[in-house]
């Protein structure tokens, strides 16, 4: 109960910080513009004539997140270290994991809010046809979980360095790996390179967010996919706590 209160206090502060700086508004506007542009112009939503969002709308999310989520996550810990508030935070009567979870949850909720604000596209597709709203809901859940996985990776990189720019670049590269591991051209390349059968390809693709996001887009809430995203988040937050501890001991 006490942990819950601490996490809530930390998350509330962090969320407030997003909205007092321009970061939140810039992020939301760009996210919505990108979604609109790619869905209707590049994804040819109208020309397709299908009452579905998985093709024209959700397929872009892994790529949007590649740049936008590290931009949200880069300041999480690097800013605390640069300004020195880390010293304040870690001498408060709270456990370090509560601070880590609180800050992560705040950013994740913020990303969820940006995602919810794409609702006009759901209204549009419902107005034009009769889509399976269950599938759309599942894809939203998947998209949010995927954003969480990217964000947790950004948590690690922002704990590594005081510089937000360095944090941003490293986490883009790390997230790019999470995408490329399941990107068809890369899979083909791997298949041509290895003659030892399918297992290596399977191992690599199982690390990809794209592979695990596919099911959600089809409306399948597979527990393995959910566990994949949650374990990426859990592992990354644990790594963040280890990094923060090492900074203090060395």
């Amino acid at each position: 109960m006490n942990s819950f209160g601490n996490i809530k206090t930390i998350a509330k502060r962090e969320l407030g910080a997003y909205f007092t700086s321009p970061v939140a508004y810039v992020f939301i506007v760009i996210f919505l513009l990108l979604n609109g542009f790619f869905t209707f112009m590049v994804g040819r939503f109208f020309e397709n004539g299908q009452a579905s969002l998985s093709g024209p709308f959700f397929m872009w999310h892994p790529w949007f997140y590649l740049f936008l989520v590290p931009a949200v996550g880069m300041r999480l810990w690097s800013e605390e270290r640069r300004v020195g508030t880390l010293e304040l935070l870690l001498t408060m009567p709270i456990a370090p994991w509560e601070a880590i979870v609180g800050k992560f949850l705040a950013s994740w909720l913020f990303l969820g809010l940006a995602l919810v604000l794409t609702f006009p596209v759901v209204i549009t597709v419902n107005y034009l046809g009769s889509p399976d709203n269950g599938v759309i809901f599942a894809a939203y859940v998947g998209s949010w979980l995927m954003a969480g996985a990217y964000l947790a990776v950004s948590c690690i990189t922002s704990a590594i360095t005081r510089s937000q720019v360095v944090s941003f670049i490293i986490s883009v590269v790390a997230c790019l790996f999470l995408i490329l591991a399941g990107f068809p051209p890369v899979i083909n390349l791997l298949q041509n390179l290895t003659h030892h059968g399918q297992w290596l390809v399977d191992v690599v693709t199982s690390f990809s967010v794209i592979t695990h996001f596919e099911g959600f887009q089809k409306g399948v809430l597979d527990s393995r996919d959910i566990i994949f995203f949650l374990s990426v988040i859990g592992f990354s937050l644990f790594t963040t706590s280890v990094i923060l501890r090492t900074h203090r001991t060395s």
Binding site: A17, G84, L88, T91, P93
Partner: protein
């Protein structure tokens, strides 16, 4: 209230803090002195649980800061050296946040915030963003944060750094007043603060405690302690010096002309010798003396004598090492 035993911190090959032990009880204000880089901040970071010690133990109100950090940290208020505060919040928002994380809710939180706003004179900047504050206000905001839960133990790392003389005075008064009911440790390199606020002082140099005592005890280590200064009319410095040198308890005599007067100082053979004044007055019988003053001793000189020889020795050995 707070007890430090054999505290050591090693960064790489450097021993930043080396076997430091002391304790502070309620009602004490401990001044932590030392040159820059002596290990003051590192020690304070270990006391407050930010840095884990390499070896040694810190207990706060009976709780080990490493083993039971949460109950220990509840008793502590801490002002870090750089006085950090969340720059994207208002002063009011920041204080509310720290009150909440200290477990204060509702009316108790409101009362706590109002109390520290009054104590630290933050009323006029209450709704201003922290990053727009001047250094003094930011410092006071962070100071307010450290006392928001009325802690039993306060650890303040250079609490008067960057403040103007009036603010310095206010903060010292506040520290002294709070020190009656709390255990306070504060670091400084301003020696006058030791007199202004401390009941006891520790001098730390290159990670080791080199002196520990009340301000009076420390001052008594000075060669100025018990020295007698005279202002004499109608004599020349040479004659004054010759006569005063005959006093047996005098270690050294200086005499300089100052306008029509001579200012002479007689240093005692043993520091803090109370008899010296009597001897000086006896020896100068019949002189035209306009002023007599017995010196209390100078902290800056004690500080210099204790910390400088080591630094010089370190320089010498470093040089010898590079030659050999």
């Amino acid at each position: 209230m707070i007890k430090v035993e054999n505290l050591t911190k090693i960064f790489g090959a450097k021993r930043a803090v080396n076997g430091v032990s002391f304790s502070v009880e309620r009602g004490e204000v401990l001044g932590f002195l030392g040159p820059n880089g002596a290990g003051k901040s590192t020690t304070m970071r270990m006391l407050t649980g930010f840095l884990p010690p390499s070896s040694g133990r810190v207990t706060v109100g009976g709780y080990d800061i490493v083993e039971q950090p949460i109950p220990a940290k509840k008793l502590l208020g801490y002002l870090p050296e750089s006085a950090p505060a969340y720059t994207d919040m208002t002063v009011h928002g920041f204080l509310n946040f720290t009150a909440e994380i200290r477990g204060l809710r509702g009316d108790a939180k409101k009362a706590a915030v109002n109390r520290v706003v009054d104590l630290c004179f933050l009323e006029s900047v209450l709704h201003q963003n922290v990053d727009t504050l001047s250094k003094g206000y930011r410092h006071r905001t962070c100071f307010a944060q450290s006392i928001i839960h009325d802690p039993d133990i306060l650890v303040l790392d250079e609490p008067t750094d960057g403040l103007d003389p009036n603010q310095k005075h206010e903060i010292r008064q506040l520290i002294r007043k709070m020190g009656e009911k709390k255990a306070i440790i504060f670091s400084t390199h301003i020696l006058e603060e030791v007199d202004a606020a401390c009941t006891r002082a520790i001098i730390i140099d290159r990670g080791v405690i080199v002196a520990n005592g009340t301000p009076e005890e420390l001052r008594r280590k000075s060669e100025w302690a018990g020295a007698v200064t005279l202002r004499i009319l109608g004599m020349n410095p040479g004659a004054v010096q010759e006569k005063l040198n005959q006093i047996r308890a005098a270690k050294k005599v200086t005499a300089t002309a100052n306008g029509s007067a001579v200012i002479a100082t007689v240093f005692p053979r043993s520091a803090g010798d109370g008899d010296l004044t009597r001897d000086v007055i006896a020896a100068t019988n019949g002189w035209q003396i306009v002023e007599v003053r017995t010196e209390e001793g100078r902290l800056d000189e004690v500080f210099y004598n204790i910390t400088m020889p080591d630094t010089k020795a370190a320089d010498r050995s470093a040089k010898a090492g590079s030659q050999g």
